[in-house]
């Protein structure tokens, strides 16, 4: 057996054990250590990706001495490895870019706890991406929820606490529904391993057994995960949580946590239930409707904001709507577009949060647009990064957001006419709204500085610059080398089946 096959396992265990080790470190050592761990995980994920792309087939990996339906196992395919790589790179850059802000925002004795949360979040993310067992998925969903809550509330102010509470309540309803769905699924199939459940479900469907409970179970699982990933009507906790927590937390929450849940949902759709069963239950249409409403409603609310971070947060609501819309199309093209948008959004949104933090750093820590005017001139790197992110969100060519919008449109053309019309209208309208609020933001940050402020040029710290360069490079890479990535996504979806 090839040694490189162990890489995903090393990633997961390394991040879990490092979280334990951080608990006895001082905060200075902790942040360097945690950064090293995330970097190592990125490298290892990249190695996994190239290995899987090289051998061109997925493999399962025993977690223990026992084969599949008895022991736990993880499964490594090309899509999993790609997602893990991109997510860990985004995480690395977010932690790097927001490090200074964490130092300011989090109380001195709690800083190492913050990095514990970051590491466990990484572990949960990786485990959810790689897992081949539904119950393992559930356990790591909970770890992710708790660490997300901790990331929100680690900054000690009222807004963060209130939104953490709201987030907890929402996600607990979600986990309740997921666990209920999971127990019903276990009752119906007698398995917890994804591939075995799929076999039994295919058998049941072919024989017409347990049709109604299966539909309800799928509904419970999908609604549970949709609640957790802040699909439109369940997004009430999101703006405050993203708007007021420390910059790294916002970046991680918006770009990774909700996306992790969505990735698990996609995995459940393909590997647990089977896409044909999902299509026959019409759950996709529900996603489609709420996704489209979310796209419009999120953008409209974003226009009304006067606070840059809250504006980006509402934009996240809209982008999650895009992803669910793609999944709701029910075709492979739509799913591909959704997955690509996960990557595009992850790379752009975290970049914007980090850059917005850099901007408010030079404007007396204010996040209001009227105070931000001229901040991009004082801190040119943050300004440029913010602009790149905004352009990517609007869909300017050469950047990742453009490709994902093209993919959505492409997927819609192959969908039924009603959906085609709705998708095209929603895409056009939402892009227009995106342009309105992001352009407003860009114009206001580049507004010339008053004479008395001109002398104050900000000297950006090197960590921030490195983070910005990583983000921009990732985004431009996704935008210019989209074709191989799209091919990999298709290949990965094929491997799912």
């Amino acid at each position: 057996m090839d040694f490189l096959r162990n890489m995903p396992f090393f990633c997961i265990i390394l991040s879990m054990v490092s979280a334990v080790i951080i608990s006895i470190m001082s905060d200075r050592v902790a942040r360097v250590f945690s950064l090293c761990v995330i970097g190592a995980v990125s490298v290892m994920s990249a190695i996994t990706f190239f290995y899987v792309a090289g051998v061109d087939q997925s493999y399962t990996y025993y977690m223990g001495h026992f084969p599949a339906p008895w022991g736990n196992e993880i499964r490594v395919g090309i899509l999993e490895a790609l997602t893990a790589t991109i997510f860990s790179i985004v995480m690395f850059a977010s932690v790097l870019g927001g490090m200074k802000r964490v130092f300011i925002d989090v109380a001195p004795k709690k800083r190492n706890l913050y990095y514990i949360m970051v590491d466990l979040l990484l572990a949960a993310l990786l485990a959810m991406i790689y897992t081949n067992d539904l119950f393992t998925g559930y356990v790591f969903i909970e770890i992710m929820t708790i660490s997300a809550c901790a990331l929100i509330m680690s900054r000690d102010n009222g807004h963060c606490l209130v939104s953490a509470m709201k987030y907890m309540i929402m996600s607990l309803i979600g986990s309740g529904l997921i666990l209920f769905g999971l127990s019903m699924l276990y009752d119906l199939t007698g398995h917890l391993l994804m591939s075995n459940i799929k076999e039994v479900i295919a058998y049941n469907v072919a024989n017409g057994r347990y049709e109604l409970p299966l539909t309800i179970t799928i509904g419970l699982l999908c609604v549970g995960i949709a609640i957790k990933s802040a699909l439109f009507p369940f997004h009430s906790w999101l703006p405050d949580a993203y708007g007021y927590s420390t910059a790294t937390s916002s970046a991680l929450l918006s770009s990774l946590i909700s996306k992790g849940y969505i990735f698990l949902l996609i995995k459940i759709m393909y590997r647990v239930i089977g896409m044909d069963v999902i299509v026959s239950t019409k759950i996709g249409n529900v996603f489609f409707v709420f996704g489209v409403i979310g796209m419009i409603a999120g953008s409209v609310r974003a226009i009304a904001q006067t606070d840059v971070r809250r504006m980006i947060a509402y934009s996240s609501v809209a982008q999650i709507g895009y992803i669910y819309m793609g999944m709701g199309l029910g075709t492979e093209l739509g799913m591909m577009a959704a997955i690509f948008h996960i990557f595009a959004h992850a790379s752009a949104k975290s970049m914007m949060f980090i850059a917005a933090d850099g901007l408010s750093y030079v404007s007396n820590d204010s996040k209001e647009f009227r105070d931000l005017s001229g901040s991009a001139i004082k801190n040119p790197i943050a300004g440029a990064t913010f602009t790149v992110g905004a352009c990517s969100m609007i869909g300017i060519p050469m950047l990742a957001g453009f490709i994902s919008k093209v993919c959505f449109a492409d997927a819609a053309i192959n969908a039924p006419t009603v959906k085609l019309v709705i998708v095209m209208l929603a895409l056009a309208f939402s892009t227009l709204l995106n342009a309105v609020y992001f352009m407003r933001a860009i114009i206001s940050i580049y507004r010339p500085v008053r004479d008395e402020d001109k002398g104050v040029m900000h000297k950006a710290n090197p960590l921030f610059i490195v983070a910005c360069i990583i983000f921009v490079a990732l985004n431009v890479f996704l935008g210019t080398h989209a074709q191989p990535i799209i091919d990999f996504i298709f290949e990965g979806i094929d491997m799912f089946a």
């Binding site: 879990m16 025993y62 977690m63 409970p213």
Partner: protein
């Protein structure tokens, strides 16, 4: 509502509970709690935690009332209540309908009783060495889940630390917050109960692979013993045997051992290397490979976490 509150002091239930707690007969000057209440000391205790003064509090409440009394808020509230009831009833009905289609309760031919549980029962003893099949299952067959689960406990403890840890190491100024009074009955009872409970907890942990129980249940029992000790003798004496440093060391050591031991067994398992850990004779206390040691680790972590929760809630530090 306000009317109710005013009359509440004179109500029978309040008098009764005052009588039961012994607050009724004590003159104001003698009883420390009453005295503090009179001098508004309780509010000062609250002030210790918050940035607001009393006047701010009233202002904010007025703000909220003004907001609430607006017409559309009333409508929204009413609509929200109706919608929630409808949603809840729909969910119950749908789930009940679903339950009626599920496999029958207690039937041996249900889909859940398949080859998976068959192997656990028939070969579990040979493969894991644990007489308690559930322990063998969660700590050997499905150990990855369980490792995740102990991480959940760890992360929860860190979370509570972030939330409630009092950053200045000085003790809280007000007695009312810490609320420790020596109680002779409690002390005497704790004197013989604490060792008994501790020994019982250790027994449950050590026999986790032989009988019902295991790390989580045993750890919870040990945690209860620690909490009882702290209740009876106060945190100062508790700190002599169990400080934050001990807490950190135990948690760190146990979880690190757990992580490393399990990584070893995952790694050897996945690469089809024979594990060097002997299974021992089933039924003996030193048997079943790693399960015993993992149970001990989990037990330690759970005991520390339970005690940690208690003391963090009680006074903001461990």
């Amino acid at each position: 509502m306000s009317k109710l509150k005013e009359n509440y002091k004179d109500s029978f239930s309040q008098k009764f509970s005052d009588f039961m707690t012994g607050d009724l007969e004590v003159p104001d000057e003698v009883h420390p709690r009453k005295k503090q209440a009179k001098n508004n000391k309780v509010i000062q205790a609250d002030e210790f935690f918050s940035e607001f003064t009393d006047a701010d509090d009233i202002k904010r409440r007025e703000l909220y009332q003004a907001f609430r009394n607006r017409k559309f808020m009333e409508w929204i509230n009413r609509a929200y209540n109706i919608i929630s009831v409808v949603v809840a009833i729909t969910i119950i009905c749908v789930l009940l309908f679903t339950v009626s289609f599920l496999p029958a309760f207690g039937d041996k031919d249900n889909p859940a009783n398949n080859e998976v549980s068959e192997r656990y029962i028939e070969d579990g003893l040979d493969e894991t060495g644990a007489v308690n099949i559930v322990a063998g299952m969660i700590l050997d067959y499905r150990a990855f889940d369980t490792f995740g689960e102990s991480n959940v406990l760890f992360i929860a403890c860190c979370c509570v630390l972030i939330l409630l840890r009092n950053d200045d190491d000085e003790p809280l100024p007000d007695e009312d917050v810490v609320d420790f009074r020596r109680d002779i009955i409690l002390e005497k009872a704790a004197k013989f109960l604490v060792p008994v409970i501790l020994v019982f907890g250790i027994y449950v942990v050590l026999n986790g692979h032989l009988s019902p129980g295991g790390g989580f249940s045993g750890g919870a029992i040990m945690g209860a013993a620690l909490i009882l000790f702290a209740c009876a003798y106060g945190f100062e004496r508790m700190e002599r045997i169990f400080s934050y440093k001990t807490f950190r060391r135990i948690t760190f050591g146990a979880l690190l051992f757990y992580g490393l031991a399990k990584s070893y067994s995952f790694f050897t398992g996945a690469n089809h290397i024979e594990s060097i850990i002997p299974l021992g004779t089933p039924g003996a206390i030193l048997s079943s490979g790693l399960i015993l040691y993992l149970n001990i680790c989990v037990g330690l972590v759970v005991a520390c976490t339970m005690y940690g929760f208690y003391t963090l809630f009680k006074r903001g530090r461990i």
